[in-house]
Subunit: 217 residues, 8 copies
């Protein structure tokens, strides 16, 4: 066929390949998942950004082996959670779908995740109440739309790596997530790194790499 | 001459007219200030964004009557401080010139000002230590560059009006102040309003209008 | 549950918390409103940017206690109007929905509001006819799309604080409201401050803060 | 040589060709002017956007035949003013250099010009005082930076064609003239057309075409 | 009611007021047209950017008096064509709706119009074949999307005023008409002025002003 | 004084506070470094983005205790390298200053660093020759301007976390680093996270956090 | 009628004229194809960016003579493949529709094409496996969305001309294809030239021109 | 040392590697040129975007072997011209430096070049006079700033490949070359491909690849 699925990625990069379903036909997505499953039968295979038609094609093809959350179809069993905890923090309830994509993808890669929702900086006490819990995390993903101010505040409170995810939540001068993206890139708290707008998947993948680090000389 | 200085502005809008010196010759600035002084001899006249040549022309023309701070030349006595206090809060030391422009222009319009510097959200305790002081203010001007996150946090802690001033402090994806401007326009704390990048003058003028409010039915 | 509603905001910031309904399920919106009502039974609770499904869920949950205008659902009685008057001025009939959002939210917070519509600068006499009425206002919210020129003209005529709201009315090089947003940020009338595109809610919240000011030394 | 000066343009388009001096060496500018003069000895030749070195080379080459204003070098006699009047209106003193470029280029093409300066919309009475004078003009060029609101107001008051020129006067979110450019393109007064930022030359050329119109069936 | 229709505009600016139907309810559009008709019974009234619902409401209200073309509803008789000819030139067939809006609005204001379609610069002979016809026009409106190159070429061939209209025809880096808009603003042919993207109406209104010019000293 | 240096940051976030020297006077920078040194005498203090005047003031104040590289002044002894190795990879020689900023800041925080320069994707063999060395790194910082393609390629070859730094190297449509910034945010290799343009400092700080991770359940 | 189809283009430019169907009615597209077929009966005529209604009108008008792929309708027989091979390379499966547009248009112009799909730089071995095949091509079209990194890598491996096509595949900071467009314009591999976002047609037309080159002195 | 010069590029890609001198020290540029010369003594080595200091260091190091034009230093003999002719066409005299960079780099790679200057579309006859000469070229590079309209017109007149180079000539809404870049990407003449703003070097390199094509099945 036309597609050369990159079945060797787990070996090279330590994480499962995920099919990007947007712009693909359901048949293409199912075909790509099948190729991944065949190359690595014991490993979960993911497809992100699935719409309803795609989700139903995947369920039709793989039946009970399928779990779906926030547009991500996972085929196969998750590995046991062996690293973490990863804190996925989000500013508002509207950011939840992106936070859930991050949470689900991280779990599918063997990460223990704790979701901390609705702690935006407009009501700072909500965040301050959870600082201890945040400090227990080995890595923190912070998801925020609108002003995107949350990662700056979180990164000033914890010593773990902070991966920031801007979301397209907002309107007008949020310009589809440009506003929080720029905020996060210009964070006054050093050590914040940023992924694409609404890219919960990418933040999870960065966390998977980070939690697999074994530094030492 | 060429210029129709708007000498009636104090009557109409309650605040002194200020000459915008950028793009004007020193002679034009001096001429405009003179016209303002002649129309309203008892009132201080301002010129903003003066460079060294302009400042020295103004000093040459008006001598001891001139006070200069942060590029603003003020000619004439300040009125006594009768309203306030206005808190001018800034995130970092690099934002100080803009904060000082705001402070100076507000004082020149009869406002009592308290400057609170270097309380950026990367070290939240610095701000939290001063919450009581901030709550005493009748109006708060918040000046911040880079991520521009400070107004969202401040506006969640006080009930006074918050006027946010983005600055051009930063580099790269700060895009000359676009980043904090968008942050502030998308503040998740309702009730923040925003002026132009580096526009300490404008924030002070908004504060002067606000502190002159006498609502009542 | 997942959401930590900020029920203490009225105490801290002097205005009701409002739920941002966009990107939330109707259940999430109803849940958030219920939490606000339970924490502060005597206070109206708002949800903004509600679509039809959300509005009908809110009506289903709270029945007669619900008032709806311009996509804002208000649950509970409005406080008596004790401050004002606030003038909400809009340039064209197409800007009315945003002006109405501002008007409704301000009324829900105890502000007396006067709506002045269709006074765009293309026909200046319409505005000049109403200058006296505008000068009676303790605060002015000016709503305009397209060229966004109205706040500059209004702010040159009144001494009250002017909060400008750009709208997405227009097409082509209006770029979804970017054009009037930039116009307003660069107003040649000092003392104009600006909120997000189409953010009638935010302008009302700024006005609520402003009308609550009690400056004095 | 390398350059094919378009010496036939006056015949085709009714106005003198002008050399755009930016990015050219002084020798190239002098050479181009010489070619224009030779092809049309009785016609003035222009070079715009000349810096000091260029201006002095032109003066060196053409001596007394040179007139300079606002960076425009004119070589040769101006034709008598036979059309007009053209009103060139500008919002602030800082916009004067662009207004003067327009004025000078129009005069060099035989147009009678009246300059009306410093009538920005922040002090509307200044403009209203001159409405009668503006209504006498056969064409109006309106020059404004910052919010660029003036053309909308002027076009609502006169029936002549209005050519709007945004300037780079301003800072921050003026983005080098983008703000007034967008304002003018979105003017709520129909019939405003726009030229490039700081393009006083282009506005004058449009006016020359307009004032040469002889419509009739 | 809420709306202050600007019924005096014909007197002040020499052209009919047109209702901008986008963002208005059909009832608001009908109401505004009715007000215009009542104030000036002998004059045609226009509404632009009408969708199907709006068009049908206007037809319901005014019956046989309604003419519709390219989203513009005209109520009342057109004046006889007394000025012109105006050439409306467009680059491609996809630009026709905008060209037709310009043509229809100009005719409704008493202008004789000649439409010259599909003469884009990719096949220059098509344009060169019609140069004589173009040179007969007293004013030229040039409509083009994509590269927007046509006005530069046309303005180099004629001496009449050229009003350029960028369209949103194109995709990708056309960015909704931004590409041809910038092209036209930077035309190397002096004397081109520009209106908003897809603004056939505005170009017609500029032409109406231009064709009404009576310059003379 | 005016500045509230955040001397407690090392405790909270595990890395030294660094002074952002741009926009500060040399005196302000020296004062801030002194405050950091006094609060934590055993810890190195950094100032980034120092110009020559600032560097010389720092050398004047702290003498032999100062090390300078790529605009970063370090005052005090570096801790021994206890974590790593961190690979700092850069695409071209022009990107070296940013890479050196990252290297220096990481070393100052106790990280062992290996610099791999001039391995841009235009000559892929240069990178492929060093894959083994890259795979030894516990974390990889990838610095690239122009097309910014290098992080995508590197992240497909290693399993360590990849922190990407766009640079302002390039011209024209590089738009000051916007091009590589967008490239990196849209990396097709999952798990790349991004810092601000030219922000070698920020990448090092992210690496310091990452190399300090001790995940485990 | 309204349209002046440019039927002489094959003679002038060596390739068939193609109708741009977007923004045209099905009747207009059929009419334009008919004009092309009549002027050059032996030559295939194309319409690009056809939607379903347009495709069905074309099939209705020309019946069996119609071939359709990726929104392109081709009417008439393809010439035999006499030049090539052209390699059309794409990064991901989601880029296939654009690659197929390029492939189909090139074939319709007598080019032999080889499609190489799904060789994105995240899994470099997929591309390296095919380098020999790529080196056989006389011209290479490279299609990629998201980071758009593939053309830089390909152009470093082959000596043939590389025409890069950015696609709108991606989300968030891909900004509808702006990200890969900028990447490709800033390619560090010299000799890459770029066409519009999603413009498979244009890339094919560039390849047709390139493959027709007969350089020689 | 730090730099891995890609000395094998001529073999792989058929053209000389060029050092990008911007952002490099003169020593780094000299070192890179030396490495290229040592690896391929018979081949000319280039450095682009050299400033005066860099140029003088290169002359100091390589003496008589150096030729310099338009900021490009060439070290070593040019190969005989064996392919071509390449036409380098530019719109205005201000575009000459970019055109000369293209010309010089092409000649250094064995291409015969003909420069055709000052044929902008504002005076179409200048271009039409040279169509025959343009049709003799095997490849055409078109250089234009401001409106960037020239490539569309040229590509409609010739069948050779057209590589378009936008320049930063212009001001205001030219936005440093963005305007002609977008124009060219949206060319209505199919088969135009585009390189970066001011990238005469890149256009020449594309031409070198194109002129080396030997298509055939
Ligand atoms: N939601 C997502 N956002 C960003 N990248 C993704 C996402 N899902 C998958 N990817 C990556 O996108 C690349 C291209 O996807 P594909 O087109 O499926 O080959 C793959 O290497 C994936 O790792
Ligand atoms: N720093 C400043 N920023 C923004 N506006 C200003 C500033 N200084 C003065 N202005 C206003 O700019 C307008 C135009 O200034 P002028 O050109 O001096 O008439 C005046 O109405 C001033 O109120
Ligand atoms: N200041 C200016 N702004 C815009 N266009 C100009 C200006 N001055 C001259 N031009 C036009 O720019 C074109 C290119 O100029 P040149 O490079 O001198 O041939 C000429 O056709 C002039 O009519
Ligand atoms: N003027 C230029 N514009 C764009 N790319 C260039 C230019 N000069 C050299 N290059 C390319 O830029 C790449 C990076 O250059 P360097 O940093 O010298 O390794 C090299 O592969 C060159 O081929
Ligand atoms: Mg909330
Ligand atoms: Mg600080
Ligand atoms: Mg109206
Ligand atoms: Mg003034
Ligand atoms: Mg056509
Ligand atoms: Mg290199
Ligand atoms: Mg793939
Ligand atoms: Mg010229």
């Amino acid at each position: 066929g036309w597609a050369k699925i990159d079945t060797g990625r787990p070996e090279r990069t330590g994480a499962a390949e995920a099919v990007y379903a947007a712009g693909k036909t359901p048949e293409q997505v199912v075909g790509a998942l099948r190729a991944l499953r065949e190359a690595q039968p014991g490993r979960v295979a993911l497809a992100t950004r699935c719409d309803a038609a795609c989700e139903s094609a995947v369920r039709g093809a793989f039946g009970d082996a399928v779990l779906v959350e926030a547009g991500v179809c996972a085929v196969g069993d998750f590995p046991p959670a062996e690293v973490g905890p990863l804190a996925v923090v989000c500013a508002g309830t509207s950011d939840l779908p992106v936070a859930r994509e991050a949470e689900f993808v991280a779990r599918a890669n063997g990460v223990e995740v704790r979701l901390v929702a609705d702690v935006g900086v407009a009501g700072l006490h909500r965040l301050l109440d959870r600082v201890d819990r945040l400090r227990e995390a080995a890595c923190v993903v912070v998801v925020a739309g609108m002003d995107g101010a949350l990662p700056s505040v979180v990164a000033g409170l914890v010593s773990a790596p902070v991966v920031a995810v801007p979301t397209s939540v907002g309107y007008g001068a949020a310009f589809g997530g440009l506003a929080p993206l720029l905020t996060m890139l210009n964070s006054c708290s050093p050590g914040v790194s940023v992924v694409n707008i609404d890219n919960g998947f990418g933040a999870a993948m960065a966390a998977v790499r980070i939690l697999g680090v074994k530094p030492g000389l």
